[in-house]
């Protein structure tokens, strides 16, 4: 029977062709009738048995025995196929479960990735803020150092001037009441005024050779440095003021930069004859400055 079924399948395969569902649809077929090769074989077997019985070549008992044997073979085959079907269904269920698990894992991965990106962005921003703070700190430290150097230099000069003043007073007691030697006074006044002007100027910042770790709050550090700077300025100014009072120049203040606008008022209105207005200015293109601006903005913390 099994052999016959296989032969039948081969015969059917040889005399048939495969058509896809789309092809059938394109031919206007919405449904097809399906018959299993086993059923066809069974029908053929029944027809053959009937033909054998009708032919009288085998006794009815032999036919029945043959039929019984065939039926047993058939049931055995059927059970085997059903067992295979159960296995297939289980495998399909397992595959579906695995796919669902895979989808869940992918979804979880996407969430983790987004979270990681967010953290990376935050890390970059924090690093940028730290760099900016570091630059500010370096500039402030450099400014304080430069100022301290200026202050030390000026204090040394102040001490020297005090010594010189004391010496002059000791050497010329008669002139103290009415004022010291004019040349010395003018020179000392000039030097004190110069020192005052220098102390009023913002110190030039400089880099530090080995920067310490970044402070937790850069604004607090900046404020503290600014406070220290202000304190130094006040101390130095007070010292100068005390010397200045001794010399009678404490009330001296720096004048504003002179305005020179009036230098031109006599020339305004005098329109000169020329042909410049009739000539085109010949311009040229030069290297762009976009990259410079971007860097400068970044450096100043605005980019």
């Amino acid at each position: 029977m099994e052999h016959n079924v296989q032969d039948l399948k081969d015969a059917l395969t040889a005399r048939s062709h495969t058509a896809t569902l789309d092809e059938l649809k394109s031919r206007g077929r919405r449904s097809v009738r399906v018959i299993r090769a086993d059923d066809v074989a069974q029908m053929i077997d029944a027809a053959v048995n009937q033909a054998i019985a009708d032919s009288g070549m085998m006794s009815p008992q032999e036919v029945e025995e043959l039929e019984q044997k065939s039926r047993e073979q058939f049931h055995a085959l059927l059970e085997r196929r059903q067992a295979e079907m159960v296995d297939l269904r289980q495998a399909a269920d397992e595959l579906r479960g695995t796919k669902a698990e895979l989808a869940r894992m992918r979804e979880h991965d996407a969430g983790t990735l987004a979270e990681k990106e967010g953290l990376r962005g935050e890390r970059d921003q924090t690093a940028m803020r730290l760099r900016h703070s570091e630059t500010q700190r370096e500039q402030l430290v450099a400014a304080v150092r430069a100022f301290e150097a200026q202050r030390d230099e000026a204090l040394m000069r102040v001490r020297a001037l005090e010594g010189e003043l004391a010496k002059t007073q000791a050497e010329t007691p008669t002139t103290v009441a009415s004022g010291m030697n004019t040349d010395i006074v003018y020179r000392l006044m000039g030097e004190i005024a110069e020192m005052k002007a220098r102390s009023a100027m913002p110190p030039a910042p400089a880099p530090t050779p080995a920067p310490p770790p970044v402070a937790a709050n850069p604004n607090a550090t900046a404020d503290a440095l600014a406070g220290a700077l202000q304190q130094l300025t006040n101390t130095f100014t007070q010292k100068l003021e005390s010397i200045g009072r001794k010399m009678g120049v404490s009330s001296a203040v720096e004048a504003d930069a002179p305005s020179l606008t009036n230098l031109f008022k006599h020339q305004e209105g005098a329109k000169l004859e020329s042909n410049l207005d009739n000539l085109t200015v010949k311009a040229k293109s030069a290297t762009g400055i976009a990259a410079n601006l971007e860097r400068l903005k970044k450096l100043k913390g605005g980019g």
């Binding site: 005098a270 040229k284 400055i289 400068l296």
Partner: protein, 351 residues
């Protein structure tokens, strides 16, 4: 030196490609140089447009024939004190033709007291190259030299005077140190840290900057004019002629004749002088920063345009024991406009 033999237009030009995606910002840069005046402005293509004009003029007789001829040839002139004054590059070329010296409104980097009546003419040239402000009070950054360490000069008067001129044109004028402008235009890649040098006509300016902040600025009162004066003396020619020899394409590493030898000698001397002074200023230790890494030295200015300049600079640099570690020594790719571009950067950023 960039030359333009076409006198039909006012100003000289050269073309370089530039990037094309920058937003056009307000602000203009003005290089008030002894030898050249240059104005820079951002254009709509994302690059910048620079107009350069020689800061010189020449008096000629104010007869009707000369006036007609200048008009016909489109040579820029101004009538001043009953004289016909040819201005800019044309004045320089005419002076060489007639064997005369041009008049120079500035000397040693500052307004020349001998040419006080040249101010209205200079004002007209500046007005022409700078153009009208795009909005009232548009910022205009103009360069001023630093105080010289070898002569006594008055920067305050010079700065105040040009502030007045630029403000009168409808801009809001801001002064910026000339070499600091070089730092802005050339040392971006180094976060604006290093030494900017501007070799101008009247002076050589130096600025040592840290992260765009000028730590030390100073100048020496020697520049292209000093070379011209000395070359003219030793060769027995007019200064304009010496300038012409210098600018006609000399390579100071390989002078070809006596004239070029003279130019090369004084160039080398100028470079050596500037370097020695920078070194001395560093060694004096006043307000000098300490750098963690080697710093770059950027050279710019019209005087640096001569062939072989940067090689000779490096030669002379190697001879001195410079107190700082130096990385790259280079000349700006656009040395003539570097200061104007730096001023423009300052104007655009509102430095």
């Amino acid at each position: 030196m960039t030359h333009n033999n076409d006198n039909n237009q006012f100003g000289r030009a050269q073309t370089t490609s530039s990037s094309a995606s920058t937003e056009v910002a307000l602000g203009k840069g003005l290089d008030v140089g002894t030898a050249n005046l240059a104005a820079a402005v951002q254009n709509s293509e994302g690059g910048i447009t620079v107009t350069v004009e020689r800061n010189a003029f020449l008096d000629i007789n104010a007869d009707i024939y000369s006036k007609n001829m200048l008009t016909k040839l489109k040579v820029p002139y101004v009538m001043h004190n009953s004289k016909l004054v040819v201005v800019g590059e044309a004045a320089f070329e005419l002076a060489n033709v007639f064997g005369k010296d041009t008049r120079r409104p500035m000397s040693d980097g500052l307004l020349s007291p001998n040419e006080a009546d040249a101010l209205p003419i200079m004002k007209m040239i500046i007005s022409k190259i700078l153009g009208e402000p795009r909005v009232p009070g548009e910022p205009c950054y103009f360069c001023v030299p630093a105080e010289s360490i070898d002569v006594d000069n008055n920067i305050v008067y010079h700065q105040g005077l040009f502030e007045g001129i630029v403000n009168k044109m409808g801009y809001t004028a801001h002064a910026i140190n000339e070499a600091h402008a070089v730092v802005f235009s050339e040392l971006a890649e180094k976060d604006f840290t290093g030494v900017g040098l501007s070799f101008g006509g009247g002076m050589a300016n130096a600025c040592i900057a840290y992260k765009s902040i000028p730590c030390v600025s100073f100048s020496v009162a020697r520049g292209g004019d000093w070379i011209d004066k000395n070359v003219a003396q030793v060769l027995g020619v007019k200064k304009s002629k010496a300038t012409f020899i210098k600018e006609r394409g000399v390579d100071i590493r390989d002078p070809k004749n006596r004239e070029e030898e003279a130019v090369a000698i004084y160039y080398r001397n100028l470079i050596s002088y500037v370097l020695q002074n920078i070194k001395a200023r560093f060694e004096s230790g006043q307000n000098m920063p300490n750098f963690n890494e080697p710093i770059d030295i950027a050279c710019a200015g019209g005087t640096s345009l001569v062939g072989g300049f940067i090689e000779v600079f490096r030669d002379e640099f190697a001879k001195i024991d410079f107190p700082l570690a130096v990385g790259r020594i280079f000349r700006s790719e656009d040395a003539l406009t570097a200061v104007a571009r730096g001023c423009l950067v300052a104007a655009a950023i509102g430095e």
